[in-house]
Symmetry: C2
Subunit: 768 residues, 2 copies
């Protein structure tokens, strides 16, 4: 712990200076000194000022109160952002007088503050002693720059995030558009998009990767590092957009994901846990649909048409009336009647009976918990369910179609439409049964009304980040939300950058980003950043297997140019995959400390030979945004290069043709082979009118082929299509190439053994 | 829509006047004019002011900007709360010049503003035209008074809540203690309790009821009405504390609970849906425990001791180390070793094997969804679980022991202890297996770290409300949180009131409030408010059955003094039940429009004869706080009366004796009868060291006896105790008197048929 003293001094009348006062660890009290009129606005009632005090007296009282308050451990001095005059930085730094504890203070003096006319300095303290932590100045934002720490959570904690309301203001949101969720998270209302609709979009950059090892190659970290570099270091307007991680795996093997090292979203515990409850809302909405399906089957099985009708359209104060959702069902059935008493018995029968075929139910219950014992269950075994039991399963929440809907929707009305057209089963006559048929559309929309608003957080350096939606990257499209990207593109302005991340390698996440996400959003991408590591390329070149939790074989820790050169085939193929869409590719080589210069140079050289716009080394994990400066500059240049974005296929093509195009052109397959189940489903979906949906391939991410063992660029294979499913609400068909696990389990020693909360400091330990 | 004009006028230099500007429907922009120093702080950047403007110019510019801004539809003029001088109200009302549209404006003029020296007026507009909606002044709070509406949700929506940050400030919270969740909800940090620990507590009032009909008798509504009366009408400091409702039933039969009519918590859709995610956190935490249990059983069944040990205490960078939670397990086992390599084979065996007996598992998975098909299920049927399937069930989330822990804890450290000592099963040798044995204590605490903070909302009239925790009232104790009550008691101060609600009738909710909640909190209750209705008393007197959704028989809608007089036996017994604890009882007769004066008088008379301190008629449903004025005055007087609070039983008594005392003294049973299973459990729990826990009876709430059909005051019955269970973390044993359903279902036509979101106005429809 340490304290600072503020000296009384004579401020220039025209300067407006804001002091942020830190009480213990939290950013809670803001004291505003606006010296033009000596305004003292105090959020907390710590300092009482008499109305009659003179300007000088007020100033002295405040400064004394701050100095004497043992809870005040540090402060920011933020100079006005829109002042026309140069600021007398020396006067300000002189006001920050280290008369008690001086740890870390000296370094903030004029050196930083004299950098420009919009100087800004920042002096917080951590509970473990006072660390140097300097804010520098971007264009209109304040940034937090590098400190020291060892684990990701320690690094995350050693930075004190800006109050999220301040960040919202810095990026041009107005207060009506922001709902604070505490001090570090906020929801951004869709009204922002409406207000900014006529503004041009910024540059749209997608981060993807080569075919990864099971350890991951650092896409999230690179997304954060690139955004940090564009922001705090190149002073561009920038936004990073990422998926919200599932909470379940946080307590299983994985232990959280928020980037890593000095390129993270903070606070990482908020990012990895409940956030603002979006995933919980999806759990509630998904399970309401599931409960409605089984309850409806049960009630239909145990009641006559007349009893069902009397209950579905009840007499209230002597009157029977259809609800709106029932009128929609009547219209769908071709019954043009509004008066419940006029339905014929035949019409009543059609109206009351969804007649769901239980064997066709594709809708699953979900939990955001790694619970392997729910992978296959029998439900309905209580005597109250009268023997109508059936086999069912739970998936992890992020596998819910509602998550994919959230990620692809462009507004409340569109979300309501999508939530209503989700197909949950077929009737016994082969008609699709939708959520709207179940009567649940409105309730789902109500449950999702807050989840649709993107969540604003920040990187370690204070760059804005949207964390919104996290659909699975195999059975769904694996990209963060269209809405977050759209709002971010407006906020950064025409010259700004939005860096968005696509799940898995370029053959999966990027292909879906272009063919599904961009198709629905109508947005034009400008640059592909393709992340590669020497480690993964060596694996593709024939190196031994890499597994999480097992030490790396020496092939990966010692120079081996031959293995690397062989493996670059995968990099080349993925570069070509991106080029098919007409977008320039910048390769980011995520450097590990065991990589040699010769290895790194070889990767860069081979990337350029394969058609990359550029290929650069990145050290943002260890150095923050500074380590991704070369990448940021390459992205800036690539964004100016000509691009000719085009989709890979026309959605009007037959389903089989669309699948074949992806398999041949992206994966390099000779052909596809349809299993009988897949063939039947294609016929069914085409008949039901879903044949024109884009394709979302459910394939392993560990190989370009369907076999995770085949590394590099597999040749001479026929891609087996075992089955095809439909996410009609989200808007895609997903062919199943292998068995996709949709419910992870807990290992013998789950992460939770190390996770704890210190009841005194309230710090979360062990999340990494 | 309508607009108002502000006239420029000469303000007194010493007056500080705050204008709240309403942009459309939301309370988003606040413009602060502090005329002592002419400070203009503008949240949204709507009005740009040059630095060089004079005071008069600035004032003119602001007023012009407001007048010309089509988005500004109304404003509050709030006079300073702590000014010593009388305010020139005329000057202020003159500034509010209705030069354009004048709907609803005339009535606010001096009539209201001249009421006192702390005047306050409020003129908002709703999208459906301009309604009169006046703020009046309480002691330090601003209150919102009556408007018009028909359904509960319409009434709820027709009031515009105060910004929750304003309410937090009005009740004396400092900004470090408040985390906003949007504009209408906030979490209050436990640091508030620490800051106020030396302040005396206010008066503690518990609202309970007679044995209810299935329709409910209006306890929540009375809780709100009483708080509103004490606040806006009697100008006392007051807080209402209620449970958070389960979201599941909102979409089933019930459709939400937030009080009703003009005595509600607003906004009711926020109250009834996700709120701030506390119940979702409990779902996540409960299911993590369940997943950990089955995963552990699975891993123990499929691995040798050595393999388990190697995985549980893994080699990391060449070193094996126990985690903190593993050291606690070693201590519990009596193994005093810290060095993993020194354990004997025998010790290793004891350490790695929890040896859970699957037939003894009492921990259930939970969902906040009415899903009847999950009442009994078989889990573990996927081939990956190798045949280790078992029968299990899902409960509704509020039935989780973690909910009861949340409601009874008094701080983070205590919650962590309780979460660790929850017993989930017995080992094959009969030892209790706890959550701490599973290694999951810390993770549970981390998941619950935000849920522990009470949620601040407000009534229709602007009275503060804590909404926090909602344990079941049968298998748990059915009371809102100890922490919310504790913080509220400090905030209202010695002369203030905290009105807290207990679930079900006095024989259940109130008995548990005293014997469980007050025992753990150490708080001293002052007054019992017992809610009764003529309808329910007639039912107890022998009236026909009352069911939800079925029209009331004429016995209930026409005067029938005989039936009523017979039924008052139940009221008398419940009054006596409260008197056993030594606390004065005020009977609140919740008036329905069909009740006659003679009926209401009879109830009041019989209540007083039975020993009630007072009995008064209440019309707060129709009239808001005004309708509970007599009740509030009676409560004020009762709180001054002498009281001698005592528990019903000593926890050191044998379990059977404690159960018998409750059965005989509260229910009026002749005796109790233990079923063999109950007897065995009492022996087991006593042996395991849990015999000294208080008792939480799981009995029907529809009769004083165990038979819901026996109304009035049943005599000559023996209470059957079918089984006994333990919630060791929460801290009680719960004898099962009947079959308690812990998972509701969906009816043929669930509420969700009528629930929808208007995608344009974003209003939620159909929640009531």
């Amino acid at each position: 712990m340490c304290s600072f003293l503020l000296k009384r001094m004579d401020w220039n009348e025209s300067e407006q200076i804001i002091f942020y006062i830190f009480l213990s660890m939290s950013f809670k009290t803001k004291i505003t000194f606006e010296y033009s009129h000596l305004q003292i606005g105090i959020d907390a009632n710590h300092i009482k000022l008499p109305n009659t005090a003179t300007e000088a007296e007020v100033s002295d009282l405040c400064i004394t109160a701050l100095n004497e308050n043992p809870a005040v451990h540090g402060f920011i001095v933020q100079l006005p952002l829109d002042s026309n005059k140069p600021i007398n930085t020396e006067k300000i730094t002189n006001a920050v007088a280290p008369e008690k504890d001086v740890d870390g203070l000296s370094s903030i003096n004029a050196g930083k503050l004299s950098r420009g006319d919009l100087g800004d300095c920042f002096i917080p303290c951590t509970p473990k002693g006072c660390m140097e932590l300097i804010r520098q100045t971007g264009k209109e934002l304040t940034y937090l720059l590098k400190t020291n720490g060892s684990s990701d959570i320690e690094i995350s904690r050693s930075y004190m995030p800006k109050p999220i309301g301040q960040l919202a203001k810095e990026i041009g949101l107005i207060s009506e558009e922001v709902e604070l969720y505490g001090q570090t998270k906020a929801k951004v209302l869709l009204s922002a998009l409406k207000r900014l609709k006529d503004k041009p979009d910024g540059k749209y950059v997608v981060v993807t990767g080569i075919t990864p090892t099971p350890l991951g190659e650092g896409k999230s970290t690179t997304t954060m590092g690139l955004a940090q570099a564009l922001g705090a270091h190149l002073h561009q307007n920038v936004f990073a957009c990422v998926r919200q991680p599932s909470q379940g795996p946080t307590f299983g093997i994985k232990g959280g994901a928020a980037g890593g090292g000095y390129s993270q979203v903070i606070p990482m515990e908020e990012f990895n846990l409940h956030l603002t409850g979006d995933i919980h809302a999806i759990t509630a909405a998904s399970n309401l649909v599931a409960a409605a399906i089984d309850a409806r089957i049960f009630h239909e099985l145990t009641q006559t048409d007349q009893a069902l009708y009397t209950r579905l359209v009840p007499l209230i104060n002597g009157i029977r009336q259809f609800s709106d959702i029932q009128i929609r069902r009547l219209q769908k059935l071709g019954i043009r009647k509004m008066e419940p008493t006029t339905l014929t018995e035949e019409e009543m029968h059609k109206f009351v009976r969804l007649d769901i075929d239980p064997t066709t139910i594709t809708w699953q219950r979900v939990l955001d918990t790694n619970d392997r014992f729910l992978r296959s269950i029998t439900i309905g075994q209580s005597p109250t369910e009268k023997g109508f039991s059936r086999t069912a399963q739970f998936d992890i929440t992020v596998a819910s179609e509602i998550m994919a809907v959230l990620a692809l929707t462009d507004g409340l009305e569109d979300m309501r439409r999508r939530l209503g057209r989700m197909v949950v089963a077929s009737s016994k006559t082969g008609e699709p049964v939708t959520t709207d048929d179940l009567g649940v559309t409105g309730a789902l929309t109500v449950l999702m009304k807050d989840a649709i608003k993107p969540n604003l957080m920040q990187t370690l350096e204070g760059t804005p980040v949207f964390v919104h939606a996290g659909p699975f990257a195999n059975i769904a499209h694996g990209n963060s939300s269209v809405l977050a990207d759209k709002i971010a593109l407006k906020l950064v302005g025409q010259e700004g950058f939005v860096v968005t991340e696509a799940g898995f390698g370029a053959d999966i996440g990027m292909e879906k980003f272009f063919n599904i996400k961009c198709r629905y959003s109508g947005l034009q991408p400008h640059v592909v950043v393709l992340v590669a590591t020497v480690r993964a390329l060596k694996m593709h070149g024939g190196g031994p297997t890499v597994s999480a939790g097992v030490p790396l074989p020496k092939e990966y820790t010692e120079e081996n140019l031959q293995l690397l050169a062989n493996g670059c085939s995968n990099l080349s193929k993925q570069i070509q995959n991106a080029r098919i869409f007409g977008i320039p590719v910048v390769v980011a080589v995520n450097v590990f400390k065991t990589d040699t210069e010769a290895e790194l140079d070889l990767v860069a050289q081979m990337a350029k030979e394969a058609g990359a716009f550029n290929a650069v080394k990145c050290t943002h994990w260890a150095e923050g945004g500074k380590g991704a400066l070369a990448l940021a500059q390459a992205v800036q240049r690539a964004s100016q290069a000509p691009s000719h974005f085009k989709f890979l296929y026309n959605v009007e093509l037959p389903v089989m043709d669309k699948i074949r195009i992806i398999a041949q052109q992206i994966y390099g397959a000779d052909d596809i082979e349809l299993f009988p189940e897949a063939e039947q489903k294609i016929i069914l979906y085409t008949k039901q009118g879903f044949g024109n949906l884009p394709i979302c391939m459910a394939k392993t991410h560990l190989s370009l082929s369907h076999d995770p063992e085949r590394k590099g660029v597999p040749k001479g294979f026929v891609l087996p299509i075992r089955d095809v499913r439909a996410s009609v609400g989200a808007g895609f068909l997903y062919p199943l190439i292998g068995t996709m696990s949709t419910m992870p389990g807990l290992p013998t020693r789950p992460c939770f053994y190390d996770i704890d909360l210190d009841p005194v400091t309230e710090e979360v330990n062990g999340l990494f």
